[in-house]
Each structure stands twice: as C-alpha cells, then as structure tokens.
C-alpha cells in the first residue's frame, strides 16, 4: 500500500498544514467579506460581491479617527518602550549591580500577568490619583506592557554579541561614545528593531488594557468591539485586510533585502 506508507511518512506535515489553515482561515474570511454587501447591520453572512467598502474605506463615522488615534499611540508607545527597554537591557547584560533578581522579576512579571489584572489595577491607580482617562493614560499603559518585551528582545541580541569587538574598537583608540555608536549600536540594532516591531504590534492591537483605561477615547480595537454590538461595517474588514497585506509585504521586502545583502557579501 504505497498510499498508506506515504500517509505515514507525511502525517506530521499534513497535521501541520491543517493547523496552518486553522490559523489562516479567519484571515481568508476577513478578506473575502471585505468584498461583501451585507443586508443588515452585521457583516457575518455572504450576500453579494461589491467593492464599495474598498472605494470608501473611511465611509464609516469615527472609524478612521479611531485608526489614527491607535497609530499615534502605537508610534509613541513604541518609541517610549524601545528607548527605556534598550537602556534596561544594556544595564542587565553589561553591568553588575545590586538587586538583579528583583529587577529581573519586575521585568518578567508583566509578561506573566493576565492582561485583565494589569488593566484593572492600573485603573484603580488612575482613579485614586484622579487622573483624566484618555490618550495619555492609554499611552502610559502601553509603554508599561511593551517595555518587558523590548528588554527581552534586546537582551537576547546583546548577550550573543562578542565583547571582543568593543575591546578591539577601544584598542583602535575609539572613545566610549564612538565605540557605542559605531560598534555596539549597529550590532544590537536587529534586537532593538525586533523589540520595536513587537511593541508596535502589541500596542496597536491591544484591547483589554486599553478598554479599561481609555475613558471616552476610542482606539481602533475599541471601535471594532463597539461595532460588534452595534453593527459591523464592511470597512472594518477592509482595514483588517490592508493591515495584513502591508505586514506581509513589509516582511517579504525586508527578507529580500537581507538575502540580497547576504549574497552580495558572499
């Protein structure tokens, strides 16, 4: 039975492909339904093909406003978390200091905490301080939960770095600032970029913590959440599809560039 042998040999791959399709199926649905023309307020059932939503992506009240708020928060949160997180990562790898254990657990804990707990406790803090909930409280929260991920990404990169490179730079009479800017930073850059990218994605897509601390400010995920109750416009799917395509394109282009660079070096 050649078929059975084939099946046996490729069982893992078949299971893997099935899992992959489970992961991708919702994205396919989101894309297909961005071309739908729903009858009622909800876009859950296929009616007929239409490109209306793609022609008028901002045709829904408040949606593009919320998108722009989300983008702004994501950019600032990424900058804040990347700067603070990179500093911590360098301190952790390169220096000796007291209370290292405490520092490590303070960085690990936010990643091991259910979001709803952080969201709720942060809200009690803001309520106690009488802070005005809105853009800035969301930004504060996002920098907080992105920080640990940046530290992790940068730390892994800096740790695998050969310290002799910096020694060599110093032997060649580079000052500390020059060594840092010309040697250390370029080597650490991929880790920093990974941390920044992760921060951006986490911040842009965050719902639970934002929902608790947003006041009346509406981010894009909150808009989607609200529309799940009021009626889902097709434009949501347009944005979802566009984001997916942009992300895949971005990754593919960056991969092509690295490949070309590597082959040029070789």
């Amino acid at each position: 039975m050649p078929f059975v042998t084939w099946l046996k040999r490729h069982l893992v791959v078949i299971a893997g492909v099935l899992t992959l399709s489970y992961l991708l199926l919702p994205n396919v649905i989101v894309t297909v339904f961005s071309f739908n023309k729903p009858k009622g307020r909800f876009n859950y059932e296929w009616q007929q093909f239409s490109t209306d939503a793609w022609k008028d992506p901002c045709g829904v009240a408040d949606m593009c406003g919320s998108l722009s708020i989300s983008l702004q928060i994501a950019v600032w949160a990424t900058i804040g978390a990347t700067v603070l997180g990179t500093m911590i990562a360098f301190a952790l790898v390169r220096y000796r200091f007291r209370a290292r254990g405490a520092v490590n657990s303070l960085i690990f804990l936010p990643m091991a905490m259910p979001e709803v707990v952080m969201a709720a406790s942060l809200l009690t803090l803001f309520l106690n301080m009488g802070a005005q909930l809105g853009f800035y409280t969301i930004l504060i929260a996002h920098i907080m939960f992105c920080l640990s991920f940046v530290v992790t990404a940068v730390k892994a990169r800096v740790m695998s770095m050969d310290p002799r490179l910096e020694e060599a730079a110093r032997d060649l009479y580079a000052g500390p600032v020059q060594t840092f800017l010309r040697v250390t930073l370029p080597i650490a850059a991929p880790g920093i970029a990974a941390g920044a990218l992760l921060s951006f994605a986490l911040s842009f897509d965050d719902f639970i913590i934002t929902n608790f601390n947003a006041g009346s400010t509406v981010t894009f995920p909150m808009f989607v959440w609200g529309s799940a109750q009021r009626g889902t416009p097709v434009q949501i799917n347009v944005i979802g599809t566009a984001m997916f395509l942009v992300a895949v394109l971005f990754v593919l282009v960056s991969m092509l560039i690295t490949n070309r660079r590597n082959s040029q070096k070789a």
Binding site: G16, Y44, Y95, P114, V117
Partner: protein, 309 residues
C-alpha cells in the same frame, strides 16, 4: 517572548571589574535602569498595591471609599463567582491542550520538514497578528454560523449530537456555546504555543535523530525518547504563554459565547466598567492574579525547568 525559552548564561562581566575601563561609570547601570524601572514600579507594581487596598475598602461611589479591612468582599466574591473562576480554568486548560496538540505538528514541520519553505511558513504564522485580533475573532462568527458549512457538516455527521450530549454545544448550534469559546481561545493563542515550541525544536541537533535511528528506534520511539523530552522547555513556556492570557481573557467569551459561558474576565470587566463595584472587582482581579501566580509556580517547579525566566 523568547526569554521564556532562553535561560541567560551566568552573568559575568567580560573582564574583572577592577580592570574595566568603565570603572568611572560605577553608577552607569543605575542611570540606565532608573527611567524604565521607575515606569514599571509606578505603573505596574504600585497599581497592584492600590488594587489590593481597593479590595478591602467599603463605601460607595458618591461617598467615597475607605480602607476598612473588609475581607468579607473576598468571601462574597468567591462564593458568588466561583463558577466563572472554574469555567475560566477549564476553558483555558482545554484551549492550552488543544494548542499543544495542534501547534506541535506545525512547529515540528517548520523545524525539521519545511526545507526552503521555512521562512514563508514562519511569516504565515506571525502575519495574522497584524490584523486586529478582534476582527479575526469576529470572523469565527461567520465560520461557525448556524447555517454555515461547518455546522452543517458536523450536524449531518451527528457530531453535534455527541457534543451537545457532553454539554459542549447546545442543540444544532456551535456559536454561543462553550465549544465556540474554546475554539476561539485556541485560535487566538495558538501562535504563542507554536513560537516557543519551534524555538526549542530548532535547537535540537538533527544528528540525535539519526543516532536514535541507527540504534533501531522507530520514529515514534525517537519522538517519545529524544525529540519530545528535548523540546520540554518549549512545551512549558508555550503552555504558560497560552494558559495565562486565556484564563484572563473575556473577548472570546463575549463575542463567541453567551451568558452561560461568561469567564472571570467578563465578571471583572462588568464589575469595573459597568456596575462600578470597585472593591468586588479588585478582589476578583486579586484572586485571579494570586491563583495564576500559584499555578504557574507549581507548574514550573514540577516540570523542573526553573531557569525559565
């Protein structure tokens, strides 16, 4: 995410501190740490203390709250909401097990069998992240719709009879049942299982498989005795990264479930944002945190990988 799988090597400075050219910068690490740590202390640690204090306060929104060490709140919260707590643990555990069963073959395929497709598959695993997870969760409403092809197939195969007998579904529906919620949770947290699994599988030396084969181990034996044990760090961090967020999640229960599938996250959210009963909400959130920290600690101890962090 990768820290969970990467144990840092013992941290020794590259050269003895005495000879270090950075001797003058004795305070440098503290300056580097200060802003970030301050942020975490003020906006992560301090809120935990505020929350603990809120949970033992009494009062009302109008008259303000006072700390009265009113621990009864905890008792009331637990006795009223223990079904939601239990449900959260069950759903999260079911989703975690499903993630492991579904994720392992894919991680294995990427690590050992994908060849030149490796990078592409990795991109496909990560790419869905860039579409808002709420939109993707809403797509499950379409996939599991009452008159959709999946429910139709399950119905004609009489699988739904079995699942509704077990209490996982109700009647001819999948939406608004525990099955839909677990399915959504599994879907949402699957990448968090796959990535650490892949990281630990990829590190395994391929020659070990050959060695096992040379010693007449069948593929299944090789997997059981060599591959799986070596991938344990990935399994442990993957299950943690799936279980923890799943236990606190309320999005899937709200979008795909019904009032009978409310999880503890839903209760905390409602108490905090709609009913405005802050002490009860804080107590519930505190219990959830304590329960998760306890379970995680026990789990890490028992699985013998304490150098995860």
């Amino acid at each position: 995410m990768s820290t969970l799988t990467e144990a840092p090597p013992p941290l020794a400075p590259a050269e003895p501190a005495k000879k270090s050219p950075r001797k003058r910068g004795r305070f440098t690490p503290y300056w580097l740490l200060l802003p970030g740590l301050l942020w975490l202390v003020v906006f992560f640690a301090l809120p935990m203390i505020y929350q603990a204090s809120t949970s033992v306060q009494t009062g009302s929104l109008e008259q303000g709250y006072k700390v009265t060490w009113h621990f009864v709140t905890y008792w009331q919260a637990l006795s009223e909401y223990w079904p939601q707590f239990l449900r959260s643990v069950f759903y999260a555990a079911a989703a975690t097990i499903l993630c492991l069963l579904l994720g392992y073959p894919l991680a294995y395929t990427i690590a050992f069998r994908a060849g030149r497709w490796k990078n592409l598959i990795m991109i496909l695993v990560i790419a869905p992240f860039f579409t808002s997870f709420l939109i993707r969760t809403l797509a499950w409403k379409t996939i599991l719709a009452d008159n959709g092809p999946i429910v139709h197939t399950l119905n004609s195969l009489h699988i739904l009879d079995l699942t509704s007998f077990l209490g996982w579904t109700a009647g001819d529906r999948v939406l608004a049942t525990p099955l839909a919620v677990v399915c959504g949770l599994t879907y949402n947290f699957l990448p968090f299982m796959i990535l650490p699994l892949y990281t630990s599988l990829e590190r395994i030396d391929g020659r070990l498989h050959e060695a096992a084969g040379d010693l007449y181990a069948k593929p299944w034996t090789t997997f059981r005795k060599v591959t799986f044990p070596l991938s344990m760090p990935g399994v442990v961090s993957g299950t943690l990264l799936t279980f923890i967020p799943a236990a606190g999640d309320y999005v899937n229960a709200e979008l795909l479930g019904s009032t009978d599938t409310r999880m503890i996250g839903n209760v905390i959210q409602t108490q905090f944002l709609r009913i405005l009963d802050y002490p009860t909400a804080a107590a519930l959130s505190f219990i959830l945190m304590a329960a998760i920290l306890f379970m995680v600690t026990v789990y890490i101890r028992r699985s013998g990988t304490e150098d995860l962090v």
